[in-house]
Symmetry: C2
Subunit: 299 residues, 2 copies
């Protein structure tokens, strides 16, 4: 099984269009210790031919162009055999509306995520221009699905929240946010992906023993946005457990047996973005890597 | 008045993610006669400080990053003082949902375009997280609006159509699609922008005498997609008059007095994209330029 990190930034990307925080200023200036990143998405394949996107980021078009494996082979074609949505956040779903050029799409999502997207949005009809343009495959947390011969997907409930635009009207459900475990049947090897997780404790046991973990690295600290004067929300209000500190995810995974641990979905404000920063050195000492766009992972 | 072409491709961009037409294959191979292009949008300023986007393309984040004039000066900031929508096509509007990071936005649109977007789409609430996040300024075809001191906007009805996702449910209106004339009050100079126009004849008189025209260069011929085996729609079905031929826009503008004529919103299939192609030479002989991303235009 191979995975390619298409985008390793949190919502908004890095740099973020309206942000001049120290990281954004430094990356725009071309600093050697910081790399620009597009929004969270990963492409996975078991056979090198059929690819599956984990989330459809608003940057999906440039992500596909940057990844030759995802280019079409024939006049109208795509190696993308399906798109798996982990929640209904616009940073994970808007890309669907960019993949509408008469191309049949298969979308894997829980009922809660699918309904939040397909119902109540007139723009969704752009994916219903002809019969069979979009096919929904229902995910149920805890139940495995075969994505392709030799590649299975196990979604599991992860502590999350409703997307911002549904918070006033929607009813929270454990299906609002899932993590994913992909398993290559031939090798038995497993890759896990969970880029929104309000608390690590409930999922550590589930992730024990996976070969590769791509995990929520949004914020370094609970009050990162508040301290920088960029917002009033704390990390957990946004359903992202911070990386650092005694209540952080680095500590929660300290004794878990996991082959390779990679933080991704990293917010523009997070100091682990800067190679050589104290926080980056700390995550590296704890055995974590920090994803970059284009990073190839073999599980 | 200065304008910067942020994106010069039609919907889908160039190359298009699921297309392996001759142009897309050649640009991916790094051909010297073809340049990749993002989706149609233009930034305009009269004073070099306050900028206005003409349409919000799905590529708006990378377009902003590629344009230093549009970068923030303070921690949370943008020089973008407003966004003008010419129709409700997703290629012109999805970018709004990418500019939602707690940044107040002013959107100029006709009532038909605004209602099609703001009503009936739950995702629109991502732009209503706090009071005053998004402010709608109503455009009425034929009535001038002051965008900023010294910069006025005159929208005019252009032959168009409803966005694809509203075609089954919406009621067509002359306000579904507008062209724009921007005027610098100090110099009196005018820049016109009309990147969806089903027929040039009704608008040629209106555009007579402008200093710069950015015009719909989507297709070279009526049956471009059909001949390439990429679709069944003809150019006019999609509300884009073709460039070439006796019924084309090049011929329609032949005797109009216009300072500088530039085709933009160019589809990936259009042969005018290739420098040196017979079609490109023909538009150049007729006094037209073909826009590229980043092109600066002084009006």
């Amino acid at each position: 099984m191979r995975a390619r990190v298409l985008g390793s930034a949190a919502g908004g990307g890095f740099p973020q269009w309206n942000c001049a925080c120290p990281n954004c200023v430094e990356v725009r200036a071309g600093s050697a210790r910081l790399a620009a990143r597009t929004q969270d998405s990963v492409a996975v394949t078991a056979d090198g031919e059929a690819w599956f996107l984990l989330n459809a980021s608003p940057d999906v078009l440039r992500q596909i162009e940057a990844t030759p494996e995802l280019h079409p082979r024939r006049p109208r074609d795509t190696p993308i055999r399906g798109i798996v949505l982990t929640n209904g956040d616009l940073d994970h779903t808007l890309g669907l509306f960019l993949l509408r050029e008469s191309q049949p799409l298969i979308v894997y999502a829980t009922e809660a995520v699918w309904r939040g997207l397909a119902d109540g949005n007139a723009i969704f009809r752009t994916l219903e221009r002809f019969e069979g343009q979009v096919t929904w495959k229902k995910l149920v947390p805890g139940e495995s699905t075969e994505l392709a011969p030799g590649l299975t997907l196990l979604p599991f409930a992860a502590p999350g929240k409703l997307p911002v635009h549904l918070m006033r009207t929607g009813k929270p459900s454990p299906e609002d946010n899932v993590g994913l475990i992909l398993r290559d049947s031939a090798s038995g090897r497993r890759l896990a992906y969970a880029t929104a997780c309000a608390s690590a404790a409930p999922v550590v046991g589930r992730l024990e023993g996976v070969d590769v973990l791509l995990f929520d690295g949004t914020f370094w600290s609970e009050d990162e946005l508040v301290r920088l004067g960029l917002g009033t929300s704390r990390a957990r209000d946004m359903a992202h457990a911070p990386v650092g500190g005694q209540s952080g995810t680095m500590f929660a995974f300290e004794s878990a047996r996991i082959g390779r641990k990679i933080y991704t979905h990293v917010n523009n404000t997070n100091p682990i973005l800067a190679v050589g920063s104290p926080e980056r050195r700390e995550v590296e000492r704890a055995g974590w890597e920090v994803a970059t766009d284009g990073m190839e992972v073999v599980a």
